[in-house]
């Protein structure tokens, strides 16, 4: 089963779709969770997920904003999406009946 940060990374990459790469995923995680995402955690987790076959990465194009350096693009594999869904389902199941789950259900929607 996925870890919490692994799930956050997969979810952020899914939201970003074709724009999913290192800096963008990091920014997405930080802005949505309100927690700092270190570069070390991001890149080692990307490697781990790729080894597990849950994501696929490749070097994308370079832009002037990045000082002419290439991006490491990320795409979620079918297995990655399946495992993220399994994680989300288990979080939902385990949270059912908890006071914050029913309170936040309406807020998040």
């Amino acid at each position: 089963m996925l870890g919490e940060f692994e799930y956050a990374l997969i979810a952020a990459a899914t939201r970003l779709a074709d724009e999913a790469y290192g800096a963008a995923i990091r920014q997405e995680i930080e802005s949505l969770t309100g927690r700092r995402c270190s570069l070390g955690a991001l890149y080692t987790t990307l490697d781990r997920l790729e080894t597990k076959g849950l994501i696929k990465t490749w070097m994308g194009e370079a832009t002037a904003r990045r000082g002419g350096r290439a991006k490491r693009m990320v795409r979620i594999t079918a297995e990655g999406a399946r495992q993220a869904e399994a994680f989300y389902t288990s979080v939902q199941k385990i949270s059912a009946g908890a006071s914050w789950a029913s309170r936040l259900a309406g807020v998040i929607r």
Partner: protein, 277 residues
């Protein structure tokens, strides 16, 4: 970002694989974070990567069999060359009056120039060995070279600066030379060549397996054979006839970085000539 921070970022990023370095430096440029934060982030990533590499046995084997002995050996050679230089100059200059009377101006300065030339050669020899060590270790321990070379530096400094009790060291210590002078010598002729050798190795594409095997043999010879076989023989001043050729060969091998640089420049020159024609 200040120049010092940029240099530190470049040095830290050098420990990453080329593709990852490209992506990470691009991400850092894009986020516009504070310099200290950039440094902290990069140091964290490098530390994670290095820790993962040191879980395998190969870096440890290389460290204990080659890097530490090579560092100690270079420290010893650097200190010996420094002490010998100081003692030779001190003896010649100290006895200058009587030597001038005995030899005359011409012979005196000719001998002095000869001594200086031999000393310069010994310093150059230390620098060549140090560059070769940096290049060899940087190639063999490519991904772990930052930590590996740093530990090699520590071993080098340990022997190179700590006072010893051999006759030459005793003479040098009587001359009241502070720690700064041998340290300066050590930095210029040992530490800097090691650093530049390792940096050069990191910037080049990995050499062929045969070239790596040759480098391994060179490093093993310098780190293991020299201190365990040749140095004890030299210390006893009784080198058997059979070992004379070994000394001659090892002295020649010591200067391989010169041949390497000539080959490198020649290859670049040839490429330029071909592209212009």
């Amino acid at each position: 970002m200040t120049r010092a921070i940029s240099w530190l970022v470049g040095m830290l990023a050098g420990a990453l694989e080329p593709a990852e370095r490209e992506a990470v430096l691009g991400d850092l440029a894009e986020t516009n974070e504070r310099s200290t934060q950039v440094l902290r982030d990069l140091a964290g990533l490098v530390a994670r990567r290095q820790l993962a590499l040191w879980k395998h046995w190969q870096p440890w084997l290389l460290l204990f069999v080659i890097v530490i002995p090579f560092g100690l050996m270079l420290g010893f050679r650097s200190r010996t060359a420094f002490n010998l230089s100081i003692v030779s100059i001190w003896r010649y200059v100290g006895g200058a009056d009587s030597l001038l009377t005995d030899l005359g101006d011409h012979e005196f300065f000719k001998n002095f120039a000869n001594i200086i030339l031999r000393l310069l050669l010994s310093w150059f020899s230390v620098a060549c060995a140090a560059w070769g060590a940096g290049f060899g270790i940087g190639t063999l321990a490519r991904s772990t070279r930052v930590i590996t070379v740093s530990i090699g530096f520590l071993a080098l400094c340990l022997v190179g600066v700590v006072p010893a009790t051999d006759p030459y060291s005793m003479v040098v210590s009587r001359l009241h030379l502070s720690l700064a002078v041998p340290a300066f010598f050590l930095i210029c002729f040992a530490l800097m060549p090691v650093y530049y050798g390792a940096r050069h190795a990191g910037r080049r594409t990995p050499p062929s397996t045969r070239a790596q095997a040759l480098l391994l043999a060179y490093c093993l010879a310098q780190a293991v054979v020299w201190p365990t076989v040749l140095l004890p023989l030299m210390a006893r001043h009784s080198v058997p006839q059979a070992f004379n050729w070994t000394f001659a060969v090892s002295r020649c091998i010591n200067y391989w970085p010169i041949a390497y640089w000539i080959a490198l420049k020649w290859s670049a020159f040839r490429q330029n000539t071909v592209s212009y024609s």
